[in-house]
């Protein structure tokens, strides 16, 4: 047991020496892997941020169900329950005449007020109607909500249904959703490309190290070194690429998050994502994930190189 531990420590030390001995190749391999991991991490961050932003913006788009005059409370409760049961609905709020009037006074400009008041007078109404405001978690479900509200069974209570208060917000959501799709596709493509490049570079680095140490490896075989003792340093070396690249990728992504975050934190669309990524647990999780991914890429590359060039099967 003691001898195995000593051998393990020697393997780790030898791997470290290889890393330093091939400094330029090691730096190149680590840098490319760092770029690949940074892209992957950025993709995760952008994807989550875009998703949260879309979700947050979706809440601003509400389906308003205008009720007829004198709808009883039990009847209103039935409609609210039915709307709440619909998929993609976040909340259903009742807006009475007084609240509608308050909002009207707060939100509408004086010119518009005169126009709307005149319109109301022409239709014979003196006050704004009661309504149900349906908040959505998924914008694409608005059509389904409208359909429910316009069902024949609710004709006695529902006067009209309107989707969206703000066309600009709706357009922003559509753009964000579309951007999110491009972010996912683009980052998958870039991550695969850079991961392949880093596999090739690490493969080549390990291949060079095997050639450089060819005589040493042959001597090791002849004097009784086990295959694992010979392979070990190459695996350690490639793991070091992964660990260093993973840490650097994390540092670069978090530098971006922490420098941009405070500027965007006041906007509700980004605040949630910022808080999510800057929680201690998530920081450690992303660090662990990127280091783990780096180690996997490193190990796979060096195993491929050793399988092709080390020839340990033929003693």
């Amino acid at each position: 047991m003691k001898r195995k531990l000593i051998s393990l420590l020697r393997i780790i030390r030898s791997g470290g020496n290889n890393f330093i001995r091939n400094a330029w190749l090691s730096i190149a391999a680590t840098a490319v892997m760092m770029v690949a991991l940074t892209i992957i991490l950025s993709a995760v961050v952008l994807n989550v941020t875009a998703r949260n932003a879309v979700k947050e913006l979706s809440k601003k788009i509400k389906v308003t169900v205008y009720l007829k005059d004198d709808v009883s409370e039990p009847r209103r409760t039935i409609i609210m329950s039915r709307l709440k049961a619909e998929q993609g609905v976040d909340d259903v709020a009742y807006v009475d005449r007084r609240e509608a009037e308050r909002r009207f006074k707060t939100n509408v400009s004086d010119g518009d007020k005169v126009f709307i008041e005149q319109a109301l007078a022409l239709t014979g109404n003196t006050t704004l109607p009661e309504s149900l405001e349906v908040s959505l978690t998924d914008l694409s479900k608005s059509g389904a909500v409208v359909k429910v509200a316009k069902e024949d069974g609710y004709k006695d209570a529902v006067d009209d249904v309107s989707v969206g208060k703000n066309d600009v917000a709706k357009e922003t959501i559509e753009r964000a959703t579309s951007a999110q799709k491009y972010i996912v596709r683009g980052s998958i493509f870039a991550a695969v490309l850079f991961a392949a490049v880093s596999v090739l570079i690490i493969f080549n680095t390990i291949r060079m190290a095997i050639f450089t140490r060819g005589e040493e490896i042959r001597i090791m075989k002849l004097i009784g070194a086990t295959p694992n003792y010979i392979r070990g340093p190459f695996l350690v070396e490639s793991c070091m690429y992964g660990i260093i690249a993973g840490i650097l990728a994390n540092v670069s992504v978090y530098t971006a998050i922490l420098s941009l975050g405070p500027k965007l934190q006041n906007q509700a669309e980004f605040a949630q994502s910022y808080n999510f990524f800057t929680s201690t647990g998530m920081m450690f999780l992303l660090l662990f994930a990127s280091v783990f991914l780096g180690i996997i890429v490193g190990i796979v590359s060096s195993l491929l190189a050793m399988h092709k060039h080390l020839k340990l099967k033929h003693w």
Binding site: K4, I219, L222, I223, G224, A225, T226, P227, W315
Partner: protein, 225 residues
Amino acid sequence: MILLDRVSKSYNKKGIALERISLHVEPKEFVIIVGTSGAGKSTLLKLLTREEKPTSGKIIVGGIDYERLKDKDIPYLRRKIGVVFQDFKLLPGKTVFENVAFALEIVGLSNKEIRHTVPKVLDLVGLKGKADNYPGELSGGERQRVAIARAVVRQPKILIADEPTGNLDPKHAWDVIRVLEKINHYGTTVLLTTHNQEIVNKLKRRVITITDGHIVSDKSGGSYK
């Protein structure tokens, strides 16, 4: 200690390297294998170190039957056999001490054990005071003695020396042979291949002559012409 029973080795298309060789070497023997280049001496040694597999026949070394030997056990077999090569096979970037220590590092000996063992072996091969030199700073004879020190530092039962004097002048060649004799004196079985007639004739040990893959003579106190 070493038993070969009707061992043959042939390489595809290149012909037969060894044909039905039978050989028995007792423990603590000093055996010299002679023959012209390409006679099959090195192939024989490679079979013993399991660098090559025989095409047919049986090999038993130190009680280990090579037929039953699995690939994963080969390193452990090689730890029981010391090997010295004509071209030394030393690592130029390591000192004499480190080259010898290398054989102990791979078996997991602690640094303390290594520091204790290596100087003793360097003393045995007459390299006391050269521990910190690099191979490039040594003469051919000294380099070969470093290689011998590395081969015997784990106290193997068998030492295989494949033309260890091939690259050396007569004086250094005899220095190496004296070291091999000393090691044999301490109880290690030595198998030596050489072309050097003078060494063979003066040593007066068992001499096996191989010609075209066959053993043509096997005599104690033999000579080489």
